[in-house]
């Protein structure tokens, strides 16, 4: 758009016509000077470590045994995939991402429709709903573990006792469920934040017209509200997937992946190989597998919604 207006200006002033080539050359130089720092930095950030990871994944490389860096081909990948933790880690990653996505999208839609109603104290309720998103992951994990889920002094135990039930030792008996609860508590508010804002741009007149035509609340929700929220929901799914694939601090501070491999996801498994067992080669192989999984997810998601993103932004 800008170039066309520049062009029209130059045609209005014929004596400037010679400058036209100069303008676009100037624009190119400007573009190069301003965009290239970001692009170069991100390119280096992507390529250098990734290339090193690929290299490490093909050699024997353990920090405990320096100097024995023979080329081993795909051996690291073989050991990583046949390791007892791999299947558990992959399954747990899927369970964690899937459940948290489901919880945050379904409850997120329902809650943001609920707080779109004009009731007393709505502003305050909204602030309360989104607050957990701003709490740092290590804090939410430890607050849940020690103040809420603790089998002796936690709030849940007190509620259980109040109803005459035996308190549950959450992290021993339902470790994955506990992690899902904590992570959902952090990411449901993100969905609410995005969907609640999107609800505000919903055309009220369209809803009123549908109501006059005799449409019930369910029909309005299904045919007007939900289609309106489809793009924001896609955004929520995409961004949460990126972050949920790499959930780490919550596991690190509560269960350390245990008991057994019950709460080990791929991120934690690789961390375990790398910085606890010092097996750089195997951790790198695992890292590459995680990258491949993330890229499959990213490819599918960008295909689904990436185009919409730039179309809307422009």
């Amino acid at each position: 758009m800008n170039t066309t207006s520049l062009d029209s200006r130059t045609t209005q002033q014929p004596e400037d016509k010679a400058r036209q080539g100069g303008v676009s050359r100037y624009e190119n130089r400007l573009r190069l000077a301003t965009v290239s720092p970001s692009v170069l930095l991100l390119l280096v950030w992507m390529i250098v470590p990734l290339a090193m990871t690929i290299y490490f994944s093909t050699i024997r490389y353990n920090l405990l045994y320096p100097g024995e860096n023979d080329f081993v081909g795909l051996e690291n990948f073989y050991y990583f995939i046949t390791d007892a933790g791999f299947l558990a880690g992959a399954a747990n990653t899927l369970i964690l991402v899937g459940s948290v996505l489901l919880i945050s999208v379904v409850l997120g839609v329902l809650i943001s429709v609920l707080v779109d109603i004009d009731f007393w104290g709505r502003g305050l309720v909204r602030v309360m709903l989104i607050s957990p998103f701003f709490i740092m992951p290590t804090v939410s994990a430890l607050v849940w573990k020690n103040l809420l889920l603790h089998p002796v002094s936690g709030i849940f135990a007190a509620i259980w006792r109040f109803f005459g039930a035996t308190p549950v030792d959450w992290f021993t008996h339902y470790p994955m469920f506990s992690i899902i609860m904590i992570v959902s508590w952090q990411w449901l508010p993100f969905a609410i934040l995005i969907l609640m804002t999107a609800m505000q741009s919903l055309d009220q007149e369209q809803k009123d017209a549908a109501r006059l035509d005799g449409a019930g609340p369910l029909a309005i929700f299904w045919h007007i509200t939900l289609p309106h929220l489809s793009r924001p929901i896609a955004v929520v799914v995409m961004i949460e997937t990126i972050f949920l694939l790499s959930v780490f601090a919550e596991i690190y501070t509560t269960t350390s992946g245990g008991p057994g491999y019950e709460t080990t996801n791929l991120a934690y498994l690789i961390y375990n190989q790398a910085l606890l067992q010092f097996d750089v080669g195997m951790a790198s192989a695992g890292g590459l597998i995680a990258v491949v999984i993330a890229n499959i997810a990213a490819f599918v998601l960008i295909r689904l919604i990436g185009k919409n993103l730039t179309d809307k932004a422009s």
Binding site: S5, L30, R31, P37, S38, L41, L42, W45, V48, P49, L50, M52, T53, F56, L114, V115, I117, F119, W120, R122, R126, M128, S131, P132, F134, I135, M136, P137, T138, V139, S140, L142, V143, K145, N146, L147, V152, S153, A158, L188, I194, T197, R231, I239, I242, S246, F248, A249, Y252, A267, A274, V280, S284, G287, A294, I302, L309, K312, A313, S314
Partner: protein
């Protein structure tokens, strides 16, 4: 008794409002409980059933500074998040400027490519980054965290600033250009004053993300450069009664970000959704 249509509607709004309040209170409860516990004595914090009424004490806040040196960790968090935000803005604003006002055929694919770098899971590059930091002496330094946070937040910052710049009418800039303004003057005298609200919320988002980041801070720092996320993780191996102290340190660590989040929730949505939801 028959209710009129208006009364039914009022009753329904009232009941749904009540439900919304209940949901909000449940979601907020862990934070409320954390703040409350931070003012209890350790003995009261462990009491079962939990005590709702007690004599508040500030001893936990005094003790976390004396025992674990809260302020040095907080200072690391401040330096790292402000450092990466300022450097990130210096790189992102020029890029967003030319992408928004001198769009080319490649602009959209560049933007999408930047977004795709966010898809690279950190564990995929954990080993090389760790070893690079180790061999260059950057392990456990604030410099390492500043560099990494700048890079991981850069795509979001470019997107967010870009989407704010897109809303500015180009005529304003062209008018300045016709008056003989250089690009630098254009940016500093015209663009920045108009878009300062958007730039401020971009900076706030970057501050929030860096402040709460807990993968690199846990893996790359030990004691010298450890920010608050790492200090709190150190409370995961308990020694004796520590509930109240954990709550106090958590409350202090989260309060600034919580307040920033409350104040800027509307503007944050745009950055968090890469400009798709406004």
């Amino acid at each position: 008794m028959m209710l009129t249509l208006k009364q039914t509607r009022q009753l329904r709004t009232f009941l749904l409002g009540l439900l919304a309040w209940a949901v909000g209170l449940v979601m907020f409860f862990p934070i409320f409980w954390m703040i409350l516990t931070s003012f209890k004595t350790e003995l009261a914090a462990f009491a079962s059933p939990p005590e709702l009424f007690f004599t508040p004490t500030l001893e936990n806040y005094v003790e976390i500074q004396q025992r674990s040196g809260y302020f040095s960790f907080a200072w690391n968090s401040v330096v790292v998040s402000f450092g990466s935000t300022i450097i990130g803005m210096l790189i992102a604003v020029p890029a967003a400027y030319s992408m928004a006002f001198y769009e080319s055929k490649r602009t959209k694919s560049t933007l999408l490519w930047m977004l795709s770098t966010k898809m690279l899971p950190p564990v995929g590059v954990l080993m090389p980054i760790y070893l690079l930091c180790k061999n260059t002496g950057l392990l456990d330094t604030r410099t390492a965290l500043v560099i990494i946070y700048t890079l991981i937040n850069l795509p979001i910052m470019v997107w967010m600033v870009y989407s704010f710049f897109k809303e500015i009418p180009k005529d304003i800039l062209e008018a300045a250009r016709l008056d003989g303004a250089t690009p630098l003057q254009e940016i500093s005298r015209v663009l920045l004053p108009i878009s300062k609200g958007g730039l401020a919320s971009t900076m706030l988002l970057s501050l929030i993300l860096s402040w709460n980041e807990a993968f690199w801070s846990l893996n790359l720092t030990a004691s010298k450069a450890a920010p608050l996320t790492a200090l709190i993780a150190s409370y995961s191996s308990p020694e004796g009664l520590f509930w109240a102290k954990l709550s106090a340190v958590s409350t202090l660590a989260c309060a600034p970000i919580l307040i920033i989040g409350w104040l800027s929730q509307k503007q944050l949505v745009r950055g968090l959704s890469f400009g798709a939801v406004k």
